[in-house]
Symmetry: C2
Subunit: 341 residues, 2 copies
Amino acid sequence: MDEVKVALYGVGAVGSLIAKSLLEKKGVKIVGAIDAAKEKVGKDLGEVLGLNRKIGITISSDVDVVLSKTKPDIAIHATSSYLKDTYPQIVSIVKHGVNVISTCEELSYPYYSEPKIAKELDRLAKKHDVTVLGTGINPGFLMDTLVITLTAACQKIEKIEAARVMDAATRRLPFQRKIGAGLTVEEFKQKIEKREITGHVGLEQSIAMIAAALAWKLDEIRIDPVEPVIAKEPAESEFIKVDAGKVAGLRQTARGIRKGKEVIVLDFQAYIGAKEEYDAITITGVPTIKQRIQPCVHGDAGTVAIIVNSIPKVLKASAGLLTMKDLPVPSAVTEDMRKYI
Amino acid sequence: MDEVKVALYGVGAVGSLIAKSLLEKKGVKIVGAIDAAKEKVGKDLGEVLGLNRKIGITISSDVDVVLSKTKPDIAIHATSSYLKDTYPQIVSIVKHGVNVISTCEELSYPYYSEPKIAKELDRLAKKHDVTVLGTGINPGFLMDTLVITLTAACQKIEKIEAARVMDAATRRLPFQRKIGAGLTVEEFKQKIEKREITGHVGLEQSIAMIAAALAWKLDEIRIDPVEPVIAKEPAESEFIKVDAGKVAGLRQTARGIRKGKEVIVLDFQAYIGAKEEYDAITITGVPTIKQRIQPCVHGDAGTVAIIVNSIPKVLKASAGLLTMKDLPVPSAVTEDMRKYI
C-alpha cells in the first residue's frame, strides 16, 4: 500500500505543528500545502516550518490547483474556529473527493450551532464519498469524547461536570494574548466587547455532543459570559508579566439544562500562574466516577496528537460528516500509519 | 420499533445484577433466561433474582428451546471466565442468529490466548449475521479501552502503566473468598496450586488489546505469579476478619514486552483494607498523561453498566467477533434503549 497522502490547508501555528508531527511519522507523506497568507505563498514548506531544509512543497493559495495536482487521501484543515469561515473552505476540499479533518472548533459538533450547514456538509461528503471530521484536544476529546467514554461505566447519571484548568504560561504567546493576560480589567472588558477576546470556542459543541451520545434532549445550552481571572499575586510567563489586580487570563462556564436542571457543566480556565493544572471529570451517578488528569493535557501537543491519530479512523470511516462519538475508540498512531488502516 | 428483546444466559451473581438493571430500563425486555443450576431451573426469574414479584419468565436449562421460542435480539452471557467453557455456549447462541455480549474475561480479546477459537467464532458470527463481544469493567474497560482512548492524546508513547487497587471489603463474599482474604500464606499457596485461587483473569487480554490498537507487535506477554497481599494490621469486611500477618487479598502484574523493553505494565490489587482505592493510568510519552479515577470504579456496578450500555452498540455493529476497540466510543444508556439504535 502507498503512503497516506496528506494535504495541509492552513499552515499557521497549529497547522505547522501538525506538519512537523507528520514529517516524523512513517507511512504518511505531505503532498501539498495551502495557505492564504501572502508571506507564506510561494515559499517552501520547510522554510515556513522553520526547518533547516527544503521539503519540495511550495505553499500555494489555490486549493483547486493543489488538490487536483496532488490527489491527497486526506486534507488537514487548520484555519479558523468558526464554521462560517471554514465552511466554504471545507466544501472546496470535499468537492475534490478528499477526506477532511479540521481543527475548526465549531465543526466538532456542528449539528448544534449550524444544523443547516451540518446537513449540507453531510450531504456533500456522502455525494463525494468522503468523511469530514472536526476534532482537537478540546473540543474533540477532553471535555466531550473522554466524558462520553467514562459514562459507559455508569448505569445512571444525575450530573456531568468537566473542568479544564491550565497555566497559560506554558502556552504560545498568541494564546496568552487571546485570553487577555496582562490587561487591566477595563481593557479586558473592552476587548470582550470588540470580540478581540472571545473566550474558549467549543464548550457548547462539547455539551451538545455529550447530550447526543446520551440521547438527552436539552432544554438549552447556556454560556456564561467570559470572566477575567484576576491575579491575586504577581505572575509571569516568558512573555507577559501580570501584576496583582490585573487580568491573568479567563474563565468560562457552559451549562446543559435538562428538565429545568443543570445536568452538564463545563468549566474552562486558562490563566498565567494557575498553580494546579488539571482536566477533571466528575459523573455523579451509579456509580459516581471522579477522574482527574494532572497536569492537564498540553493543548497544542494534544491537538496535534488527536488530529494525526484520527487520520486512519477517518480513512476507514463511512462517508459523511461525522463527529468523534461516531468513530471507533480513538487511539495513538505511533508506528507506520499504514498499519492502522 | 419494538422493545429490544434480551435473553439471559447465566443467572449467577453478575447475571442477576445485569437482569435487575435491565428490568429498570425502558425500551428493553427480558424474554428468556437460561441457567444450568438445578436449584434455579423451573423457577420464575423474579424469584431467583430475589424480587417480591414474578416476572413470568421461567428459567430453563435448554438454550435451543428458549432461543427458538423467544427469538431475542441479543443474549447476555455470564457464566465463566474461560473461553474453553464458554465457547460451546456462545456457539449455541450464535447458531440461533442471536447477538451475544459475554462477561467471559478471555473473550474480551480472544485473539491472544485462543486465536483458533477466535477465528472460528468470527466465521460463525459472520455466517449467522450476528455480532459477538466479550466485555466488562475489567477486562473490557478500565485497563484496556480507557487506556487506548487516552493514547489518542499522545504523539509518542514510551510506556503504558495501569493500576487498579480495590478494597475487597466493598465486594461480594464470593469475590473476597476468590482472592484468599483471611487465609494463612500457606493456605493461599495451596489454593493457588490447586487453582482454587486463580488471580485476576484478563490481564493478558487487556495487554493484547492495547497492543493491537497501537499496532505494537509484542515479543511476549508475561504474567507474574499471583502474590498474596499480607495484612500489616488487622482488617475486616462484613464477612471476613483478616488478622495481621494473614492474607488480605492478592496482587497480580502483567507485562507486555516489546523489543526487549517493558512497554505495557498492568498491576491489579484487590485486598481487604486497601486504604486508597483507585484506577490509575500513566502514559509516558509526548505528552505524558497521568490519569486517576479515585475511588476505583466498583467492579460489579461497572460491569453491569458496560454490559448493558454495550447492547445498542452491538446491535448496530457489523457481524463478526468484535472487541471493545472496534466499536464506537462507548457511552451510557440512561434513556429508552431504542433511542440509541
